[in-house]
């Protein structure tokens, strides 16, 4: 029983903490974000397994985590509200080349983050070439370019 409880507790706690951290927290913007993620995993591992390094324990814990994930995904599909609460909602942060400051500040995003995404995925050069930039639920920024006038 303890094995399942450990898995459950870690799952819920991590879910909660990452939601509190906001969309951008640890979304691998920098190398250090990635390193931090590894450290979180390392710190979690002990609490998940306790002093029991048996195969049975590992299998039960893994099944608990995957099972919870499946259950949650089914639940999210049935009730959109649950999906919102667990995953958050996407947010438009640039509209028609104009950054929406209030939203960007709240999510701790600056122009450079947006421009970086625009360069990386669309090869854009300036803010005014962006039609929309959206902060997605996974913390990534997606960019829709303005269509070039023909000719």
């Amino acid at each position: 029983m303890e094995m399942v409880l450990r898995g459950l507790a870690i799952y819920v706690l991590l879910l909660l903490l990452f939601r509190i951290g906001g969309k951008r927290a640890l979304s691998e913007v920098t190398t250090f974000d990635f390193v931090l993620l590894l450290i979180v995993a390392e710190a979690t591992q002990q609490a998940l397994l306790g002093e029991d390094y048996s195969l049975t324990n590992a299998v039960v814990v893994i099944m608990t985590l995957i099972g919870l994930d499946i259950a949650l995904s089914v639940w999210k599909q049935r009730w959109p509200r649950v999906a919102q609460i667990i995953e958050g909602v996407p947010l438009v942060i640039v509209e028609d080349g104009k950054p929406i400051r209030s939203r960007m500040d709240r999510e701790r995003i600056d122009d450079e983050d947006v421009l970086s995404a625009a360069r990386q995925h669309q090869g854009l050069e300036r803010m005014d070439q962006i039609k929309y930039a959206v902060l997605e639920r996974n913390g990534g920024i997606t960019v829709v370019p303005k269509r070039e006038p023909p000719g």
């Binding site: 507790a9 509190i20 999906a83 947010l91 438009v92 509209e95 959206v134």
Partner: protein, 170 residues
């Protein structure tokens, strides 16, 4: 999810929810700060001013140093100091409540007792003592195998005793 359109964009944006989300995040940050503050103060165990505690027998002769907040299955210790009068016939008979020991796992006792006896709901550790002018002490390294509140008591057989309470975090 309601797929609203923001001009040309089909997007499940929900500003009302987003605002509540932000508010909830702020509350979450506050609680996180609170937990970290409590942890620094020792309320979550592992050192800090709130963490270590001491129980004394009414006459002050016996002192038990223990961790007020301990962690499940993690090393903790009891240090029991007793007065010189506790030595009788070259031995000190130090008991710990059996109920307490049943919920813990004693990993090491220092110094090593000569023998351990069972009697009256207690486990009696008998230490050999050559000379003792002021005060002697024995320490018990243990791991607690139960989550939640835990009571314990220890003392010298026929002498002073003290009780203590611990809280064990999972």
């Amino acid at each position: 999810m309601a797929r609203r359109r923001i001009a040309d964009l089909a997007l499940a944006q929900d500003l009302a929810f987003q605002r509540r989300d932000w508010a909830a995040q702020r509350v979450g940050w506050f609680f996180m700060a609170l937990v970290l503050f409590a942890a620094t103060a020792g309320a979550l165990g592992r050192g800090g001013p709130l963490s270590r505690a001491e129980a004394r027998s009414p006459d002050g002769g016996l002192r038990i140093e223990y961790e007020r907040f301990a962690h499940y299955q993690s090393p903790t210790s009891l240090r029991i100091a007793f007065p010189a009068e506790a030595v009788r016939g070259g031995e000190v008979r130090l008991w710990i409540e059996r109920d307490y020991l049943r919920k813990t796992r004693v990993e090491q006792v220092l110094p090593a007792p000569r023998r351990v006896e069972l009697g009256g709901g207690r486990l009696i550790y008998v230490f050999g003592v050559q000379t003792l002018r002021e005060r002697g002490a024995a320490s018990f390294d243990l791991k607690i195998e139960q989550v939640g509140g835990l009571r314990g008591a220890a003392g010298i057989e026929g002498g002073p005793q003290a009780a203590f309470r611990q809280f064990v975090y999972p």
